[in-house]
Amino acid sequence: MECQLDIFFLEAVLNGLLLAGLLALLALGLNLIFGVIDVVWICYAELVMVGMYGINYAYKAGAPFLAAALFGVLLVALAGAILHQLVIRPVLDAAPINQLLVTGGMLFVLQAAATVAFGIDFKNLGIRLGSINVADMSFSYSRIITFGVASAAMLMLWLFLSRTYVGIAIRAIAQDRQIMPLMGVDHRNIYLVTSGIGGGLAGLGAALMVLQYDIYPQIGLQFGPLIFMICVLGGLGSMIGGFVAAFIISEFIAIGGSCFATEWGYAIAFLFFMVVIFIRPQGLFGGKA
């Protein structure tokens, strides 16, 4: 296949932009947790999968989509808080690698649990929103809605973190873990709230993804590595960095995917990621290595 600078190329670029909104939202949740608690949830994409199944269940049970989506967000927020309380808290003082692995173990647990409960077949909500055509280019409404909602959610999170007491406490903890308890902030509650918000963002991601993707137990493996890559590329803990990295990576995927095959888009993105990290180990916007 040849790659030409034609209208299809522009379509790929714009579709990459729309994908970036979703990936940025997911990377933001992971980044928030890393920045505050200093733990990488390897199973983050699996929480998204849990949310997708939850929404599917609620929707098929007769709930309207918005209620099902809200249910999904709350479900994953709760799952995030439980994950923190039961799995992360006991290893908070352990070696970083054990923290990484314990969530890696949860990846297997969640994936297997979903298989046992729902089977391996693909499910979808059956909602088709159609697409809009602009000058020979076609964009699905679900992608546009995803982009809009993800951007709005990120804006709201930013307002929350900069304007409210809890939000400021969260940012303060991220900057200095030792000092904050002395200032009268209970870091345990902050960790729990952060895990809940991180989970909620995964739930929102799930609500947006059910509009575009089929649900199956292994879907996390397709998105998980991408989300880590975006976080590291932007600089772990840096929210603006995650945002920019999401755009770069999704353009690689969209353009590479339209010029070659889908896997090559991903492969080039991973290669690019490794090269950038060799040059700038702290990521594009990371403060310190």
Partner: protein
Amino acid sequence: MRLSRSAMAGLGLLIALPFLIRFFFGASERYYLHLLIQIFIWSFIYTGWSIMGRFGLTSLGHGAFTGIGAYGCILLWNYAGLTPWLGIPIAVAVAVLVALLVGYPCFHMRITGHYFALLTLALTEFVRLCIVGLRDYTGGSLGTQPRRYGDGLSLYAMQFEPSRTLSFYIALALWLAGLVIWKWIDRSMDRYALEAASQDEEAAASVGIDVTREKLKVTAVSAAMCAVGGAIYAQYQMYIGPDTIAGLSVSLNIVFAVIAGGLWTMLGPTFGAVFTQVLSEVLRVTIQSTAGLQSAFGSSVLALDTLIYGLLLVLFIIYMPRGILGTILERRDKRHSRIAATPVKAM
């Protein structure tokens, strides 16, 4: 290397094992041998990982090296007709080259911890995507098979799958070679240099240790072992797929088994392999033979063993971070030190 009496006895028992199995479990001989072969091959791979893992270099990239070893060897055999006797060294050389290409900037730029783990994870994904992307040669996500040579038993093609006893001894030899390499590194000066570096890199560098060079050495050995392990696995299984020998779940399985067994002792990774393989087999067999579970969950009951397996691993990491063998040895040492009434500083 001198062997202790108990090591000699253990080795003798292992060599006699196929005959014992034939004598006592003649009916399911092939099944038991298969289980043991799997344990030995994976033990070798796990030991290879632990050679760098024990120095704080937690790589999630070893799924890439097993994948390169397995696919390199098979593709050279299938498409170039190159015997695995040459194919495996070439595949190993490629794996080592990749390891050094990724390792050098990592170590030079002092990338450690989360960053190192996530960077090597990206390497694994990259290799897996390349395997899937080259589907005209590799069979994509469906996997591929080495071309069978004659009746499948051949020195030239290094194919031994039809004879389980032969496969057993090959796997046993591989595993022993892994232990010898482990011991060799454990006794070398490099070990002390790397232990110093894993505690405090700046301090180690200041006393004249070339940290980058030392790390690259173990990385090369470790990647080479995983590539050999992957290739032998492919030769034994006569089938490979991107998810069984490359990819994130292989990487995670390697790390888990080693952590479960014990990272800092020679037989820890082997213990991890025995534990994880036996556990998943027992769970699989029990679950499949329980009619009640079958009717309740249908075919998705097959994932129940992974669920229990994953939960156990999580519990292990939380409550037994030194692994099974590590914890047993630690208890024993504590008892000894109590008897001797000399306080021993725990690491």
